[in-house]
């Protein structure tokens, strides 16, 4: 300790100079627009590089788990293929493939790695290692094999900022696979990173625990039928006309490493049509 104090006393002039010079540079960066933006850009780049290194290390140590996950996904896809191959009704088989084919034509997919993710805030976001140069644009859906992840908010050349499903601003109409029902509003209540809630579901619907919740046909961001999670709790709303559901998410955001960005190929066409519709309604 004494050595440290002696060193500080010995270097006090240099330390004073560094301190005062640091104050000056701080002033320059705070009050000059160009220097401030340069500093912000540089620090963002610096932190993104740190995130990238951290993600690479996490990725390396999580390879075993990732392999297991891919093996599970392969198994699931293989069993789906088997189902189609063994289908006795050839007409149904063709229709089925047709619909799959059509569905796949509507969307293009871009693989990306998650380099930063938070789950403890009220409005959580993710950062992906792909950006506008890779074809990612705002308002594209982001999915993982276990379920939907979020929506792209902003992009830079090499990175994309994603509003995660664990965000107070995220809302979606869910689809109950067993009931073939599109109803309610899915949102995050901010309490549990593995759970979302569905409100405004009619009490008369026969919702049960364990039912699969998927994306609906109403969404323009996500292909229909993508998994979201399973119903884990059912409770009645205060006015007694609706039920509120807790849904356990398929995606574990704390371990999320790989995602797929969904590009809706006819999104512009759909938006133009909606605009025309709004104009016509306005004229009426």
């Amino acid at each position: 300790m004494r050595i440290i104090f002696r060193w500080i006393r010995k270097q006090s002039y240099l330390l004073l100079a560094i301190f005062l010079f640091g104050l000056s540079v701080n002033q320059v960066m705070r009050f000059h627009l160009y220097q401030h933006s340069f500093y912000v850009q540089s620090s963002i780049g610096f932190y993104r590089n740190i995130d990238q290194w951290k993600a690479d290390i996490d990725y390396y140590f999580g390879l075993k788990e990732e392999n297991d996950r891919l093996a599970r996904e392969n198994q699931r896809l293989r069993s789906q293929l088997n189902t189609y191959a063994l289908s006795p009704d050839s007409v149904e088989l063709v229709n089925h493939f047709d619909s799959v084919h059509q569905k796949s034509l509507r969307y293009a997919y871009i693989q990306a790695k998650v380099i930063r993710s938070n789950t403890r805030l009220r409005n959580n976001t993710l950062i992906l290692d792909k950006g506008s140069l890779d074809g990612i644009k705002p308002n594209m859906g982001v999915i993982a094999p276990e379920g939907i992840v979020g929506i792209v908010l902003q992009t830079s050349d090499h990175y994309a900022l994603v509003m995660s499903i664990l965000n107070s601003k995220f809302e979606l109409t869910p689809y109950f696979q067993e009931l073939q029902l599109q109803q309610g509003v899915l949102a995050w209540n901010g309490k549990n990173a593995r759970q979302v809630t569905i409100s405004e579901v009619n009490k008369a619907e026969r919702i049960r625990k364990g039912m699969h919740v998927q994306t609906s046909h109403y969404s323009t961001l996500f292909p229909p039928g993508l998994p979201i999670g399973r119903v884990s709790r059912i409770s009645e709303s205060p006015d007694n006309t609706y039920v509120e559901l807790d849904v356990t998410l398929g995606v574990n955001f704390q371990r999320l490493q790989h995602v797929t960005v969904v590009q809706h190929l006819f999104a512009d066409e759909e938006a133009t049509l909606m605009q025309h519709h709004q104009v016509l309604q306005g004229n009426d």
């Binding site: 006090s12 002039y13 240099l14 004073l16 100079a17 005062l20 010079f21 104050l23 000056s24 540079v25 701080n26 002033q27 320059v28 960066m29 705070r30 009050f31 000059h32 160009y34 220097q35 340069f38």
Partner: protein, 169 residues
């Protein structure tokens, strides 16, 4: 004490001169003289280096306030005060200056080339820091060096002019 008051008045006058006169004169892209550095050339070589450092910070801050260039003059003055202390201790014969009965380095104490080298290096360090903070870009190193060099020439010219004016009085 009287010396400190004299320096303070001179510093305030130079700060106003810089902010309201010299800064307003357009002398081209490369020539931006900052003659207020002349006050550092006439500082007593036996002054407390800590006090000089703090005073340099306050002086630079005053010029920044008057000219709206927050931090740039302050940083350059702090760097100059630090470099002056290093120069005075390592390359200046302070004993010789004291024995000649002088308080600061002047051409009479040694020679004109030595004096020009002294004020030239101090001014160049100050200008280099100032223009580095101004351009704030590693790619602009050539322009920073060029502007610092040409402006150093201009500053030395004005400083010598000021010296001649005050010496004659």
């Amino acid at each position: 004490m009287i010396e400190a008051i004299k320096y303070s008045i001179a510093a305030i006058l130079l700060a106003f001169l810089q902010a309201y006169l010299i800064q307003e004169i357009n002398m081209g892209v490369w020539l931006k003289p900052l003659p207020y550095v002349a006050i550092f050339f006439v500082l007593n070589v036996h002054s407390n280096r800590y006090a000089v450092m703090v005073a340099a910070f306050a002086f630079g801050f005053l010029i920044d306030l008057l000219s709206g260039s927050f931090g740039m003059h302050t940083g350059a003055c702090v760097a100059l005060a630090f470099f002056k202390n290093v120069y005075d201790r390592n390359w200046l014969d302070i004993d010789s200056i004291t024995l000649q009965g002088q308080q600061y380095f002047s051409p009479e104490a040694k020679s004109w080339p030595a004096y020009l080298q002294y004020i030239g290096s101090l001014t160049f360090v100050h200008h280099l820091v100032f223009f580095s903070l101004d351009y704030f870009k590693a790619d602009a190193l050539f322009y920073i060096l060029l502007t610092a060099f040409i402006s150093t020439m201009g500053t030395i010219g004005i400083s010598l002019l000021l010296r001649a004016l005050f010496s004659s009085r």
